[in-house]
Symmetry: C2
Subunit: 273 residues, 2 copies
């Protein structure tokens, strides 16, 4: 039993799709979340930089005394999970393995599509894991660099979003995967239009939602689950505009007890050194 919070970080608002599942499946757990909105998207950045940012966010969450760390960002998971997991003495969970496992389970034709940021696709993390776990599976990877900006600018329900998504996913018309990994935690916000573009028979795998099963399992395994409690106020932080973050958070997470604050990681760093 452990009443401390679970820490989540993402390049921006994408990790909120993971948080929504945690609120549903693990109602006793308190959430501390930081989105690095000011520096999003991470996808096109060099991996050294994503690793550096990931450490800054990790240190921010460690100061909040989190009992477990969830890297709710595929790009950061691809680049920094192994290193962070090795160095921390709390459990650390990424979003790539859970999504891979779920896709193998869902694909009957052994043809799996993966969409993600340029950074995630370049890392080939999904491809490597899928091939290791299921050598007979064909994997089709596609970077979709236009998707994250659509979500971060709160335009993910617009006609433009619909057009961009349909055009970006055209290569799959030929390859015909029967399962598609949404390999970026921002993408579930585009889910309806991705499903429309892919066709209803394609199983969309939400890597973030799948991650919650791992979180739940590891809380049990390490005996870290929180007990039932009545009121939890979740804490959200963003390096960008609190107002913009709030709009997306409230429409996505609904009516929960929470605080949203802007933080400046650079200033915090200077203040402590």
């Amino acid at each position: 039993m452990n009443e401390q919070a679970i820490g989540f970080f993402d390049s921006g608002v994408g990790g909120l799709t993971v948080v929504r599942e945690v609120l549903r499946q693990l109602p006793n757990e308190k959430i501390v979340y930081i989105g690095d909105t000011a520096r999003a998207p991470y996808g096109p950045r060099p991996s050294e930089q994503v690793e550096k940012f990931s450490w800054e966010l990790t240190e921010f969450l460690l100061k909040k005394k989190v009992k477990m760390l969830v890297i709710a960002c595929n790009t950061a998971t691809a680049v920094a999970l192994d290193e962070i997991k090795k160095k921390l003495d709390i459990p650390v969970v990424g979003v790539i393995l859970p999504g891979s496992r779920a896709a193998i389970k869902a694909s009957k034709a052994n043809k799996i599509g993966v969409i993600g940021t340029v950074g995630t696709i370049r890392s080939a993390s999904y491809e490597r894991i899928l091939r290791e776990k299921s050598p007979k599976t064909e994997v089709y990877s596609l970077a979709c660099p236009k998707f994250v900006p659509l979500v971060e600018s709160n335009e993910f329900r617009s006609a433009i979003a619909k057009k961009v998504v349909a055009e970006s996913l055209l290569p799959f018309k030929l390859q015909k995967p029967d399962a598609l990994i949404l390999g970026c935690t921002h993408y579930p916000l585009l889910r309806p239009i991705i499903q429309q573009a892919m066709g209803s028979e394609v199983a969309l795998i939400d890597s973030g939602a799948e991650t919650v099963s791992d979180v739940s399992m590891l809380l049990d395994y390490f005996n870290l689950s929180a007990k039932y409690r009545n009121e939890i106020t979740h804490e959200f932080y963003t390096t960008g505009s609190a107002r913009m973050f709030e709009e997306i958070a409230d429409s996505w997470l609904g009516n929960i007890s929470r605080t949203i604050e802007h933080v400046n990681l650079e200033e915090m760093k200077n203040a402590t050194t």
Copy 2:
């Protein structure tokens, strides 16, 4: 990556229902299994004795250099998991938490039934976990001491089995749970007649099958998954008759490459001391 086997133990053949799921979901993994058939059932035994037997089986598997231990027996999980997990430096998984998690997910009416051996039900392990995780859930527990002997004697498809099962489950007619935890790894062999007795609308939760998700997750988490390999010969041991064990194993697991051997834990112990 780790090519060592995963170790499983059970009071008898019940854990084979877990093994079947491992073969399906984790085809790269080698299995070493020991069933304590000579001393089954564990259900009616005092907990000190079940704990002692569990340690004997654990030591047998450790000598086989297993990389992970699965206690594929609810009675032993209830009594010995915490202690064994604390003392071993390989991951140790029981069957009670995974079954509980799956039942909470499956029950829409928040009414969960649990059937198990006298030992498992007396331990109240499922009740405690279900109430902790989901305080609003009503839990109905029922010991079914007649079920394991039906399975161990290979009579689980007989007319007698049908009658015994229907009579044993009568109390649920009034309580009407919409999810029923098969809280003993022997019970999935009785699944069709349990489903018939409960009605098709009740979700049967196979605690063993659910455990495989945990095994898979922990293999990933601790970086212990085996690589793809062509031929694996699984090893099965029983403290009882190899012939009887073979009959049930082959009908349940199908055509796999395996060895089945009788072992005498007492003799082995005397030989090494």
